[in-house]
């Protein structure tokens, strides 16, 4: 027991105590500062994407400097540590090619900025709002409120459509009418409809494009514009209004009909005559 006390007295000198306290203070202050920068740093003149990058860069830098300073204070030889880290890096490098690829892709994405935080993008079958653009991945919030993580490498290789990049969008409606209809009359009804819909932009003017003679309909495209905020309202209102206006104008929207023919050798379809309830 006495030997333990003597040992502690020899080891825990004032110098060691001072170093321990200093190291503790560096660690606490440094990490707190890094945390505060990560949580609170907001530069008013920057957008959310740039703010995110600045916040992360500042907090990571302070964190790394804090750890290095802490290690130096407690007497760890960083040269040895970095040497070991070098060897380790080679080993880890082979094992983490995907991660490295994602990081490099992430840097390209951040530099190119095809979209920023808050944009709505479509990647493959996934459409959602960009939550974060990290070094490894982009996180999206889909409209059914799910989070989708897309690796940066995939983002760089895929076709990414930014739906909210430009202030206005075009809605392309593919419509077919019966062969008996007068297309001039159809055009008139559609243009009147676009003119009456307040969220449908007058300019750029709506567009009517004849697509061709279909199997059972004259097919055309009617394109109208709206602001990106009103796109959904336009999408819903125009389709409903077109159906209603066609019904009112007596314009037929045909659908494919199928005739069943049993063949010459088969028995004919049995036919049953029923009386209408109104007449009975």
């Amino acid at each position: 027991m006495e030997s333990w006390e003597t040992f502690i007295d020899e080891v825990v000198t004032a110098e060691v105590l001072r170093t321990a306290i200093l190291a503790g203070v560096i660690l606490i202050v440094g990490l707190t500062l890094a945390w505060l920068l990560h949580r609170k740093l907001r530069l008013g003149n920057l957008g959310p994407q740039a703010n995110l990058l600045v916040r992360r860069f500042a907090s990571y830098t302070v964190g790394v400097v804090t750890v290095i300073w802490f290690l130096r204070t407690i007497g760890v030889d960083l040269g040895v540590l970095l040497g070991a880290a070098g060897i380790l890096t080679v080993a880890i490098g082979f094992a983490s090619q995907t991660s490295a690829s994602n990081v490099i892709s992430g840097l390209f994405l951040m530099g190119e900025q095809p979209f920023v935080v808050g944009d709505v993008i479509r990647v493959g079958d996934t459409t959602g709002e960009v939550l974060t653009v990290d070094l490894m991945s982009v996180k999206l919030r889909t409209f059914d409120n799910l989070q989708v993580r897309i690796p940066n490498e995939t983002m760089l290789k895929s076709n990414v459509t930014t739906l909210t990049r430009f202030p206005i969008r075009r809605l392309d409606m593919k419509i077919g009418v019966a062969y008996k209809e007068d297309l001039d009359r159809v055009k008139e009804v559609l243009f009147e409809l676009a003119d009456r819909n307040p969220v449908c932009l007058i300019e750029p003017a709506p567009l009517f494009i004849f697509l061709g003679y279909g199997d059972s309909a004259l097919n055309f495209q009617f394109s109208v514009w709206a602001t990106k905020e009103n796109y959904l309202a336009l999408l819903n209102s125009m389709h409903l209004e077109v159906k209603k206006a066609f019904d009112e104008a007596g314009i037929e929207i045909p659908f494919p009909h199928r005739t069943l023919y049993p063949g010459s050798v088969a028995e004919p379809f049995p036919v049953q005559v029923v009386e209408s309830p109104a007449k009975s």
Partner: protein, 271 residues
Amino acid sequence: MDDRTLMANQWWGVVGIPPGETHHWRIGPLDLWIKRLTGEWRVAYGTADDPMDSSLESERLREDPDLAALGEVERYAVDDTAEALTLEPALADRAIITRPETPFHVPAGEQVTVYVSTPLWVRIAAGDPPDRLREGPISRPSDTWFGPNTREGELCYASRTRFVLNLENAPMVPHRATTALLIRNRADDALSLERINLPVETLSLFQGPDGRIWTPDVRLERTAEDEFAELHVGSGEPEQAKGATRIAEPRRKPSGNAVIRAFSSLLKPWQ
């Protein structure tokens, strides 16, 4: 304001509504019902199809109507409903792109004054001093885009107008403001007016002695060799309505010298 037919095209002003009662206004295509309850105002509104309807009515309803059956209903909770309810006219909250119904050209060296009309908004305020409850268009104009391409520009409202040359032929619609637009073409070739960007949010409103609602005069000037024409926006009473009363201030002050280069072939068809 309680008369069924309003005097001199004036549908705005202060109305006293006793507790539990409903007041109804018809301002052209807009029907507006406002009901006073304890600690609450209920506003119902509905819009008819004809934007040029110029009928005006203001009446206190004897019976208690079912507002939900009449139109869209909104409720505004307040500490205490005072009797005074104020309607105010205002111009649109975005610029209006006005286009002539037929192509309109001003030959070289000519100067003409045309009259264009733009839709008004109605502001509802309650109490004394009045607190704003809501504001909205009497007839909602369609949106339109004004800019050099589909990537840059500004969202505006669209309005078609006949570009009337004689004031007598300009219909006096109580929910539209008339603007006298002086066009000077000092260039060597004809000026084709396809569209004009009227920055109505920077204009005040006046009521002339005959009841017509005016904005200050606007001057469109094209100098020689200039592809664009410059729009100079005035701030005082219009020349055509001396002694007019100012009835609404502009929503915002015009920036700079109020000269706007916005016009004509700026917009191309984009497909």
